[in-house]
Symmetry: C2
Subunit: 465 residues, 2 copies
């Protein structure tokens, strides 16, 4: 028995916005040969605009779990239906004493992975768009990022996240520092060389660097980082306003009110730390949380905009003749997987997909826009068996902690978390993950790529003939 009526793909109304025709429901059971459709989708031109959508920790397993829950096993997200798809490796390095042979780190955190696509180069855990070195506290070489290169080319840039905007993923787009924890001027204990008051002066904390990069659109959580005092005295927020004329907003209503960058770039900080996930938590337990009738509860997000709201505003503000680069992160998929929270993670995959639909609506009118949707590394959630009216040769439900929800299909789905003790933070895993794209040069995500390969693709490769 189905849980609710399926919203027809391609017709979803989102925040008053009619979503475009780029979504094509074709599977399972599609009948036509896709060869011609795929051929027509290939465009070797360099993209004018790039929209990179990241689901932190969003691997094939949580995508499948989210699809099962939201749309049923036969459903399709917009991200499922992008024409070009591939697998992407996410390994990083470990610190080491031989600069020619840093050890490989087969399971990365969010800093080297985001640094990988931002800079085209590998680095070590916790490091933000800066090369490897002999130890965590020894800074490496700063590497230019895609966002910085777009900025230098006179294009507009945007950086949107549901985490603190100073968290590793958005940080890597537009800052350089040895440790991801150095998010604000009061968090610089292990990044002393980077303090603005250091001699010689450093680039400052992540919060400061993001505004010093004059990123046109900065939207997310992290207000507490921007309330910290800079080494010179004023808060980072006041510094951003006085030095660069940043327009500061802190609610969806205020965000709605900003309709131009004429008065300055925009800094929207909608939560003290991370923003609120779409759903309230359902936390796995050793005895098994939830059950065959459990559904996820929508959280009260107060005055916060959704990721789709932020993406919509960012695109409207960034749209210009020269082009733009926009990174959008659905950050809480990862954080709720760490917390063994199946509802939190599932809901923010849907948030990612809704943000994608906004980007697709823009792409439909601006076909010189490359859209890439992927994760940064694999994570801990496993979909496991749950018995029932079948031989169930797959064996009993396993895992250290499990949770069960009733899917759109009306059937129970069980997930397990086992990479850490129940109640502790679950760990990332090292599997390659899915990458999908549409638009010019989107064919470059097919096959098996490394996440550093996205760097050249987003900058635009020399068109093939």
């Amino acid at each position: 028995m189905r849980r609710k009526t399926l919203v027809a793909a391609g017709a979803l109304a989102l925040g008053g916005l009619a979503i475009g025709s780029a979504v094509q429901a074709v599977s399972p059971g599609f009948t036509d040969d896709r060869s011609a459709t795929l051929a027509k989708a290939i465009s070797p031109e360099k993209p004018r605009n790039v929209i990179l959508l990241i689901g932190d920790g969003t691997d094939d397993s949580i995508i499948t779990a989210a699809r099962n829950y939201e749309l049923g096993a036969k459903g399709r997200f917009a991200l499922d239906e992008l024409p070009f798809t591939g697998a992407m490796t996410t390994f990083g390095l470990k610190t080491g004493t031989d600069p020619n042979d840093y050890p490989i780190n087969y399971v990365s955190d969010s800093a080297p992975t985001a640094s990988g696509w931002s800079t085209g180069k590998k680095t070590v855990d916790s490091r933000i768009s800066q090369g490897p070195s002999a130890s965590d506290t020894a800074p490496g070489t700063d590497y230019d990022t895609v966002l910085e290169k777009y900025k230098a080319a006179g294009k507009r840039t945007g950086n949107v996240s549901t985490a603190e905007i100073t968290d590793a993923t958005p940080a890597a787009a537009g800052s350089h520092i040895n440790l991801r924890e150095c998010q604000g001027p009061a968090n610089m204990a292990k990044c002393g060389y980077a303090k603005k008051s250091a001699v010689p002066a450093g680039k400052g904390s992540i919060a400061e660097q993001l505004v010093d990069n004059k990123i046109d659109v900065l939207l997310g959580g992290g207000a507490a980082r921007y309330a910290q005092a800079t080494d010179a005295g004023p808060s980072v927020l006041d510094y951003a306003k006085s030095t660069y004329s940043y327009q500061a907003v802190d609610t969806k209503t205020a965000l709605d009110g900003v309709t131009s960058l004429d008065k300055g770039p925009i800094l929207g900080l909608f939560a003290s730390a991370n923003m609120t996930p779409r759903y309230e938590p359902l936390t796995a337990t050793p005895a098994g949380a939830g059950g065959p009738t459990t559904t996820c509860k929508t959280a009260d997000r107060g005055t916060q905009p959704s990721l789709a709201d932020m993406t919509d505003k960012a695109i409207k503000l960034l749209d210009n003749d020269k082009g733009f680069f926009l990174q959008v992160e659905s950050a809480m998929v990862d954080k709720q997987e760490h917390a063994s929270d199946i509802c939190g993670a599932i809901g923010d995959v849907l948030e990612l997909d809704n943000a994608l639909k906004v980007a697709q609506a823009y792409q439909a009118k601006h076909p010189d826009t490359l859209i890439i949707v992927t994760g940064d590394h694999a994570h801990s959630t496993q979909i496991v068996g749950n018995g029932g009216t079948t031989t169930d040769a797959t064996g009993a439900t396993g895992g250290k902690a499990t949770a069960t929800v009733k899917t759109f299909d009306g059937d129970p789905m069980t997930v397990a978390y086992s990479t850490a003790a129940p109640g502790s933070s679950q760990s990332h895993t090292g599997s390659q993950i899915r990458v999908a794209a549409s638009g010019p040069q989107a064919a470059n995500v097919t096959g098996t790529i490394d996440q550093t390969d996205l760097f050249s693709t987003m900058l635009g490769r020399t068109p093939s003939k």
Copy 2:
């Protein structure tokens, strides 16, 4: 420090066979835009030959682990470099009383998954190319398979596996029965209706049905099933020889000696039950098996051919003007994952890749051949962190049982098994898995497909324009 010298992609000598030029090393760090290359690879024609290569339980995680171990994190298997790639869903059904609403089973075993691509339809766990029903022992409707349709069209057919050839995956290609366990005439306790001595007479056990389907090339393990007496008296093997003139072989040397199907189809049974994996087991333990200097030991496979040997022979025997369908399964990836055996699973991913290279060498000369490489469902192996000289923000190694090996990169890789208690059989998981293809209509694996969609692709869709 690298463990050994990398064998250059495209130049691997395999069983005396020079492997073809279809392998193209491009990543990480590829520089050219792939648009033109991908466009040239698109062919909407119906394939004349189809070679389907299955790694049982072979998901993105074990592919990544195998790549890290065999080639290093930056290496590329042949299967990595196929031009068309997508994600594939693998869910099945559960038995139920409402034929219009069977519950969804989010984690499938190998029977409904193989039945899915073989017949284009979903079914329940343990069921072989037969529809769902109210209970495990109630037979469903038999569905025609791709192999049977090729046979009916006058084409040749082959079925190769490193498991018992009567195991679920090869069984689904050419037999129909309510329970996968009914492999030989002595195993029919729960499949009584299907016994040949039943009234009315049934189709017989899986072993009998495979030969009654006159499959031209049957190669794998399972000799003990064929030694069982049929209801009529003689062994299944004697029945196959006397009724259909099957040429029986049981060693690689004997297999080498068969060079034509003129005397009859071939039945090669090289092990009493399953064949021997490439590597000896390294079994994960709660304390952590192996370590940073542990490498996998090559097993003594006695007189058994490799999967590549069997694939090579099968293709040579099947090659004909009308075309053929060949299913090749690297079965022990799954079984060694069940056993928490990282070396066994890794080695048989390499075996799958070596079989693919054989298929690619044929395809290079016969471009009207569609090659598809995929798994049947996701599995339990997770690549987890192992600390070391880094901040390792991903947290400590987790999992109920772990094992560590030294990869080709010279660095330790740790994997965890947690879907069952250590020592018990690890369980399948429900993630979508990778599918890749090359040749005519290979574009139909892109995006997100369901495994039942492979059915129409393998039969050949109406070419698009």
